[in-house]
Symmetry: C2
Subunit: 243 residues, 2 copies
């Protein structure tokens, strides 16, 4: 179990002061890997560097990518942070959910949204669990760098007290890109056979995602499920050809 297995992903950060502060607190909390999805500011600007102080190496080594799936490549577990209650999914506290990212031998990610809007529903869909920092309902929206401070503080504490971290699961979970490939395949197929309709597909697919995420699927199980979809797809083709 190691803190270095957790990557911090910032989606479209716009404030260089925030990006610099995030690098600093990551260093404080022994985290190394920062990924910036389509940053809206220069992460190596003077402002960012000034806030990073001795976390400058985290900032300089930060990876820039153009999409969230790219940032999640190879990750087996992802938790998204959100300030808003999400209809179909229960929110957890950082203290309860984050130790799960430290399960031994996995690669995991903690995702933060843009300062102004937070993560969209589409972006939230890439995560398996969702945390919300408990706060005053009058003004619940925390500054990005302070949200990262609170979450990485909980991660650091969980790593110091590994007895609280859930045990290594019996099956190795599939990486998120493999899961995502299955979800896309399933959606395309269900639209084609008319089970899904374009205007309700997203909502229905969220239910599938929720169910499968809870099941903690292995790569083998995803292959099995894709096999069924592929098989029915082939039959569907034959039936239609013969009509």
């Amino acid at each position: 179990m190691s803190l270095t297995q957790v990557r911090i992903i910032l989606v479209e950060p716009a404030g260089p002061l925030n990006v610099g502060s995030v690098a600093r607190v990551m260093k404080n909390m022994a985290l190394e890997r920062l990924i910036l999805v389509n940053p809206q500011c220069d992460p190596l600007s003077e402002e960012a560097k000034r806030m990073a102080v001795h976390g400058i190496d985290v900032l300089e080594q930060a990876q820039r990518v153009s999409s969230l799936p790219e940032a999640l490549q190879g990750c087996q577990r992802a938790i998204a942070t959100t300030g808003r209650p999400r209809t179909s999914t229960s929110l957890e506290t950082p203290k309860n959910a984050l130790p799960w990212l430290l399960t031994p031998h996995l690669t995991s990610a903690l995702i933060f949204g843009p300062e102004d809007r937070g993560l969209s529903n589409e972006e939230l869909n890439y995560a398996q669990r969702f945390v919300c920092i408990p706060s005053n309902s009058e003004y619940p929206s925390l500054n990005l760098a302070q949200s990262v401070a609170v979450c990485t503080y909980e991660l650091y504490q969980a790593a110091q007290n590994p007895q609280n971290v859930p045990p290594y699961p019996a099956t190795e979970p599939a990486s998120l890109d493999i899961l995502e490939g299955y979800y896309q395949h399933l959606e395309t197929f269900l639209l084609k056979i008319g089970y899904l309709h374009p205007h309700t597909a997203t909502a229905k697919m969220e239910k599938f995602r929720k169910l499968y995420n809870r099941a903690n699927l292995s790569a083998e199980e995803v292959a099995l499920l894709r096999g069924i979809v592929g098989h029915i797809d082939a039959l569907w083709y034959l039936v239609n050809r013969n009509q």
Copy 2:
């Protein structure tokens, strides 16, 4: 038990961005009272206001004072934050120590030092307990506003789960200014009678402070102790006059 009984004290903050961010996260965590001891920046500068966002009222109502004892006036409990191990006092985690500030019917304070040097030993002496945010030994020094975020997050959670907060003590503790008056009185007296020597007085007095802070003295008990000092002082005067 209420979060509004806890004041946040920043000693000589130098960064307006930090002061603004502190105001914001205080609002996020339902804290209202910010006290700035001898601020080294303009807390109402544009930079500070920009970071405060909807915590602007906390910033505008922040009180400015010229000394830490003034900021602690009327407080019955104070916890200081520090990044350095202190020889004579054990450091606690925010999670363990901070709920103590929420004991019902008391006024309490959480003290943060300047960005560059943290709290001095003299400043730490005004507090009864000491917290240190667990962090990476390679770079343990957190940004001021992020430290406040972590601590106020723990306070907010403690307030949400009051079963974890220690019960109301049987005796009402003396306010810190009353305690401080006693410590000053005792030190002056002990120097005069030659029990303390100027070059070792501070170290010896720290031992007395530690002992008395642990005892959770009431105002009546402090009056009793001061009475003894005053009485012996008077006898000392008579003895010396007659020699």
